[in-house]
Amino acid sequence: MNWLLALPALLLMALVFGWPLLRYGWLSMHASSVLTGLEPVPNQGANWIRLLEDPRFWQDAVQTLRFGAVSVGLEIVLALAMALLLDQRWRGRGVVRALSLLPWALPTTMMALGWRWIFNTPYGPLEQFAQAAGVAPLNLLSNPDWTWFATVMADVWKTTPFITLLLLAGLQTIPDDLYSAFRLEGGKTRQAITAITLPLLTPYILISILFRTAQAAGVFDLIQVLTGGGPAGSTESIAQYAYLNAMRFLDFGYSATVMLAGFLLLSLVIFTAALLLQSSGLFRPLKS
């Protein structure tokens, strides 16, 4: 009876998450492109060999990793500061918390458009500012060395509130008594952060990192609208390359290979990180 109740939802999930992975596994062993008249023809792993030798895929993999690592790192630091601020008691805290949540709620494509205008050369506010300071032009969206950082900034702006909420929930589980005891023992307020707050917050920080890393690995909307992968492919992500392969080059076999490879790379990153954490003993389960 319990299984009967659970079944419809689990079936739909299996269809939406499980079927694509099986299908990609099959498609990645076939040529299915304009050359084959969009019909799948077995090609004995040629897609995978092509992938291994495809500099664009590996460049995109490195860029995706760089985007994820830098933005998640910045987000954690920033969110920690925000959560510490919002955890204190002061008047108007609820309103400020609600307002600071707004960037997270807006559709990514919408704010990506907004950032395109803010980063615009020469009319955007940042560029105007730089002009006044005498360092223009910044070319935030057309300089292959910098533009990736513009995407990081837009992502940090949008997703930091989400991590802030998680860390805030963690902070609220730490009893005030701990801090009082620490002060009675003669500890300084500043030391309390490293002695009490950070160790007890570690599981929440790790969960945030896990969650955000997985999301960042699939970054698509933001880059698609903000830079389109440019300039000179310097911000293109794996998901975007897979999208291009399917929708523009109409090479479904290779697109499936790229997506599967992206998924395997992500699993590898998460798995390695989990192993490292386990051996370092940092991780303690949330519910004991």
């Binding site: 319990n2 939406v16 925000m82 600071s100 709620a105 929930a169 399917a246």
Partner: protein, 272 residues
């Protein structure tokens, strides 16, 4: 920290709100004033961007309506599937519960954008493209992991005796769910519903590939399309007006339902 707190609060608010305020200001600034800072202050303002947007073909409110419909249907479908399922799972043995949780948690982490190609094939196969009701199917599937995690936790929080007592009273399964358990998990259901709605409202890659007819686009796709195909030299005034109109319903929702959203997000990530 105490003395410098107002400064930090001000910084936090500026960081969060200035980019949005800039869009608001831009949306009321005339196209000429955007590219020419010498135009005097009084002559910089205009409503033209909004007028243009609302008289477009299709008019902008069409996309708002589409997004509302997709959001509402997806939310309803997700809850309809997730509530009974979570109830069933919460009453399973410890071992089955743990393995289901692991699978569902992994699905919640999965970067779903990678699924678009296979889902698009399904849409073609079963002719579900360009159908605002059909797109609720993948949306419900994608939102189910989070919904299940939240609702399983909620059901597990209820004492078993309650269910047993209701059964002794002779209530059937559906009656127990409807009259005894649903009222108790209403807060969790509300949180879940709002988060699913937000997901459906903001979703881009699936909508981009499933919907192509001009009058059926949802907001995120319409926005991206406005960005890609504009005939104006510097069309940022029109963009900005579109972002303002598209954001208003969402901002209202978030400010009104802040509490449920916060509860849902934290429970979903922490307990899951």
């Amino acid at each position: 920290m105490n003395r410098s707190r107002p400064l930090w609060i001000a910084l936090l608010l500026m960081w969060s709100l200035l980019p949005m305020l800039w869009q608001l200001i831009t949306s009321f600034t005339s196209g000429d004033a955007l590219v020419n800072s010498d135009i005097p202050f009084q002559q910089r303002w205009t409503l033209a961007h909004y007028r243009e947007l609302l008289s477009g073909d299709p008019p902008f409110w069409r996309y708002l309506l589409n997004s509302c419909l997709v959001g509402a249907v997806s939310t309803l479908l997700t809850l309809l599937l997730a509530v009974p399922s979570a109830y069933g799972i919460a009453r399973m043995s410890q071992a089955s519960r743990r393995s289901i949780r692991t699978v569902v948690g992994a699905a919640a982490l999965f970067p779903y954008v990678l699924l678009f190609l296979a889902l698009l094939e399904l849409a073609r196969e079963f002719q579900l493209g360009n159908n605002l009701l059909a797109i609720a199917l993948p949306y419900a599937g994608l939102a189910l992991p989070l919904a299940l995690l939240l609702l399983i936790s909620a059901f597990e929080g209820l004492p078993n005796e309650l269910d047993d007592a209701a059964r002794l009273e002779g209530l059937g399964l559906l009656d127990r769910l409807r009259w005894v358990l649903m009222p108790l998990i209403a807060p969790a259901t509300a949180s879940t519903g709002i988060l699913v709605f937000l997901f459906a409202w903001n979703e881009y890659p699936i909508a981009l590939t499933w919907l192509s007819r001009d009058d059926l686009l949802t907001l995120p796709v319409a926005m991206a399309r406005i960005a890609g195909s504009s005939i104006y030299a510097v069309p940022y005034g029109a963009y900005a007006a579109a972002t303002v109109l598209g954001s208003l319903p969402l901002l209202a929702l978030v400010l009104l339902c802040q509490r449920q959203i916060v509860a849902g997000l934290t429970n979903g990530a922490v307990k899951g």
